[in-house]
Amino acid sequence: MISGYLITILITILIYAMLAHSLNIITGHAGQISLGHAAFFGIGAYTSAMLYAEAGFPFWISVPLAAVVAGIVGALLGIPCLRVRDDFLAITTMGINFVVEAIFLYIPFFGGAMGIGGINLPKWFGREMTKPEYFFLILVVFALLLLLDRQLGRSWIGLAWASIREDEQAAGAMGVDVVRFKVLAFILGSAIAGLAGGFYAHFLTFIMPQNFGFGQSIVILSMVVFGGIGTRWGPIVGAVILGILPEVSRPIMEYRTLIYGILLLGMMRFQPGGLLGAESILTKAFRRTIYRPSSPE
């Protein structure tokens, strides 16, 4: 039997992987920087928590609704964000994060600094799910999301996102409705972050505004950048490595943000594409071992 400690770490990492994946849709695929992704994580968590603990909805309804609400808010907040680009977009999304966190903190309706408790793991077959079962539930959902991501990557939507990421003005001149496809990326990325929030709330059983602050956004972004922005597996690898690091050593846990910051700087300087990026040492070594027998191009 897996220990409680191990399963806790596994679920946490899985949720981070889902978050990194969702941010990758906005920042990696569509090229829109976001420094406030934890806001949508929080909106999902709070939606699910309140529907479950206050309104009495079952897990199986509260969590999908968390995705829907986060997606809708993502669309609404995405629209003003679309008027700005690059560094201004970074600051706008950061501002959104602070506002959302402050709303959770200062509006009594959301439980204030005390947060919301009384959220439980879901029930099935007339009993509460065990943690390993919960882990596999999230894993299955995540696998489906990755399949969806693969389909999108091969679709005209994925191509439109790539063109926007490369050059917005040229994309518009090629018939790509830039605003529409950007909003689509914001909706999808926010909804998946909201879904992760729902899973997170039911796992923690107790949520507070601090779980969804700016620091959390940076952690998610670090995972995406570290693993390889825009690649399918990079953000997941990033989430696994940066998720395990604090667990293997206490000092890393204490200086977590410092170490993430240094890693981020180092990656930007030496491997801007991330661990699994097209130009990284790892990818090149991998290609060499795979393609060695074939003739050179």
Partner: protein
Amino acid sequence: MTLLDVRALSKEFDGLRALDGVNFTAEGGEILGIIGPNGAGKTTLFNLISGIYPPSGGEINFHGKSILRLKPHQVSRLGIGRTFQIVRPFQNLDVETNVLVAFGHRFYPSLWKSTGPFRQPETLREVQTLIERAGLGPYTKQIAKNLPLGFKKRLEIARALALKPRLLLLDEPSAGLRFEESAQLMELIRQVCNQGIGVLLIEHNMQVVMDLCKRIVVLDHGSKIAEGSPEEIRSNPLVIQAYLGKEA
């Protein structure tokens, strides 16, 4: 019907008149040259036609329909392709994918159709034909940023042709090219025009303009100062003055 009809077109940027009451028409199968000194408003004209910014006044009709309030993606879907003065291929995508982006203009309007896969055999065949027409056949899988400038310019034309355009706006296609590169590009433009596509050509190289165009519009300080055949333009005193300045 007239392909493109521009009437009294004006654009002001914070009080600066970049374009001031410009009139002209363009037809299919014709290369219309647009010349003028730096800052005459040539690129502004292209940006107004392609919907990058709204005009301050005037009309633009394409096939008898106003395109005045349309966004760039709507203008391009109607069949107006363009290239940029400073080339803007999708730098990290290969040649084929660059052209595919424009090929998708028929799918993007429907979200449902947009979910379909873009690498279909028949699509790729059509795209390959366009790439070969632009003389980029051997470079299909090359990443755009690694191409020399002349090829990037051809890639932009191939991409614009994937829109199945009726009008092509070419912003200084020969700038920065060696003589042979430029000659090849001009041949491509001539072929495009022979298929009945209308071409608006901004060009600084007078030799190129005089060779390719039967009709030329001259802009200076945002206004049209002359229009006519290359011979008429060459001998027009206003044009000479605009380019060389007034005699002291």
